[in-house]
Symmetry: C2
Subunit: 357 residues, 2 copies
């Protein structure tokens, strides 16, 4: 295993120490339990947004903490859910009195631990709502998930909801917006190579020299199919068409009902993309992909969207939700409306985010 | 070879097509000869800045074209110098009447071709000055270079000089500033893995499973030494101390003398770093390095700078001057003064740049 690390067990701690030293104007870091939070938290009267998940997907989530995006991010060990005490402490630290939104990717461990943290926060009198991101069209039920996994749309939801909170939306409205972003977003990824988790020390999976995995998860969990290597255009077409042609998707998720004071089942339905939709096109690097390759994917994606009658009104191209050094990419399309476009364009100042247009 | 490409010979063309589609508000792309230029070029009365070099180092240089940075960038084939017609056309396209600065990395092919382009531009009545970047302390004379190679300081010079041009500096003053940035900047890199050039199809060099190369060039050209893998702290210390303890470095470079109308020899001397200096610390990913590892390097670099009495006043952490999917990093330190800090903080809007603090 070749990595720029010291001891595998110190990777997250030392990464956080580096972040604290590098960006003191933007963020602070709390250790034990670990979380990154806005340097000016709590922001009185503003809805706070907390996300988190396993480490190894940088810049998500810690790199997205700052003005106009997240108030706090809770990193677990690499590819491992954070623990409830992290989310609870983060929630208490950033609550400015207007409540806290938890943005949770659909992985069983994340859901369980965020739910426990929310319950404890409720017990301490903090309003917490939780929205699940489950946008990955590749597979239904996976190694760590029931239903679809949470992937690229997470990044977009954190930006858009962060801007909304900054603008003064109240908690219910930010949560409703986050739900809208989730049901309007769809993602699918692929891998050319595996990655190696530091404390494991060997590649997560084996791929032949002429093979790739389509529909891979961000932890290297199996995708939809393994096949012979294809060209960038063919790969882009496979991903883009899977995303665009995905039918309406119904499922039941648990959300906190403030009025009832309990978790309730909510039926969500993702509308399919249709001709004339305005979309944000997000070409994401899995981490180890040469930067020169991403515009090649975007070029084909642009052509396909045009052919399908989808108008790309904004884009984001780069490594934003990664799997360590994995090579490959994911494509996320998010149906946009004027409200979302305005929030997308709002200022943001975080360690890890640069914008497309 | 596993890459998100179509035909190896189309990589640069298709990358540029993607860039043109993705960032029409920021840049335009000219094909045959290939260059990326500011969407609003020429900017009347502003000094224009043109850089370029082999592709494969993205986001440098094409990603740095835009308001507050480069006016144009000329990409060669992967790891291959661009041709003089590219620099000439780019120079003519972006000249707003105040002259053009060429920022040239010290590689023999780049120098020769930029010099030919400058001569042709002079012949067409365009004022062109050229500044060489030769900041890499790893080796003197390398596979493609006489003297030191141009590496990390290139990115910093493009940002600082771009801001100066935007602010209204005249050509001589921008050139003098660029020279100052170069003699105040020092860089050294290392690789854990090789990269694969698309049209070659196999790794540029072989490294054993427990080996690394210290002082690597950005084209995979040999470094200072090959050794057994060490920890991030040990690697950071080797790079940082090489940079910090590098003695005064004298050499003769060719620069265009406007008054004489000819190329003249200029003796440059880099002052060594000394206690009390203010520096910008730049931790650069070689492209394939997991993002979680860079703050670990920064953390140690911060400690070393503190111990050496260097005050880090700004930083930049991420993949900015890369070698395709190579894993590894480089460390650049740039001695800063108030003028440079002000220009560093000036607004910038390009496809590929996000800021540290």
């Amino acid at each position: 295993m070749k990595k720029l690390i010291n001891k595998p067990e110190d990777v997250v701690k030392e990464e956080l120490e580096g972040i604290a030293l590098a960006y003191p104007d933007l963020v602070k870091v709390h250790f034990e339990p670990n979380f990154v939070y806005r340097a000016d938290a709590p922001v009185k009267g503003k809805v706070a947004i907390v996300s988190g998940g396993g480490s190894g997907h940088e810049p998500m989530h810690g790199g997205f903490v700052g003005v106009g995006m997240l108030d706090a991010a809770c990193p677990g060990a690499v590819f491992t859910s954070p623990t409830p005490d992290q989310m609870l402490e983060a929630t208490k630290t950033v609550d400015g009195g207007a409540g806290v939104l938890h943005i949770v990717k659909n992985y069983s461990g994340d859901i369980m631990n965020f739910e426990m943290a929310a319950d404890m926060a409720h017990g301490e009198g903090i309003r917490v709502l939780s929205i699940l991101i489950d946008d990955d069209v590749a597979v239904k039920d996976s190694l760590y998930t029931q239903g679809r996994r949470g992937t690229g749309t997470t990044v977009l939801s954190e930006k858009i909801c962060g801007a909304a909170a900054e603008k003064g939306y109240d908690l219910k409205r930010v949560a409703a917006l986050c739900r809208k972003v989730n049901i309007n977003g769809r993602c699918m990824g692929m891998a050319l190579t595996s990655c190696t988790v530091p404390h494991v020390g060997r590649p997560t999976f084996e791929l032949g020299e002429d093979e790739m995995e389509i529909g891979i998860g961000i932890h290297g969990e199996p995708g939809r199919l393994r096949m012979k290597l294809k060209s960038a255009d063919e790969i882009t077409e496979m991903l883009a068409l899977s995303v665009i042609e995905d039918p309406a998707y119904s499922r039941t998720v648990r959300e906190w009902d403030e009025a009832k004071g309990e978790w309730v089942d909510v039926v969500l339905q993702d509308p399919p993309f249709k001709e004339g939709d305005q979309v944000l096109a997000f070409v994401n690097s899995m981490g180890g992909t040469p930067a020169i390759e991403l515009p090649i994917v975007y070029r084909k994606l642009h052509e396909i969207c045009e052919k399908k009658g989808l108008k790309i009104v904004r884009n984001l191209i780069g490594p934003y939700i990664t799997s360590l050094e994995m090579q490959g990419c994911s494509i996320t399309l998010l149906k946009m409306d004027d409200e979302m476009i305005g929030l997308w364009d709002a200022p943001v100042k975080t360690p890890g985010l640069r914008w497309g247009t």
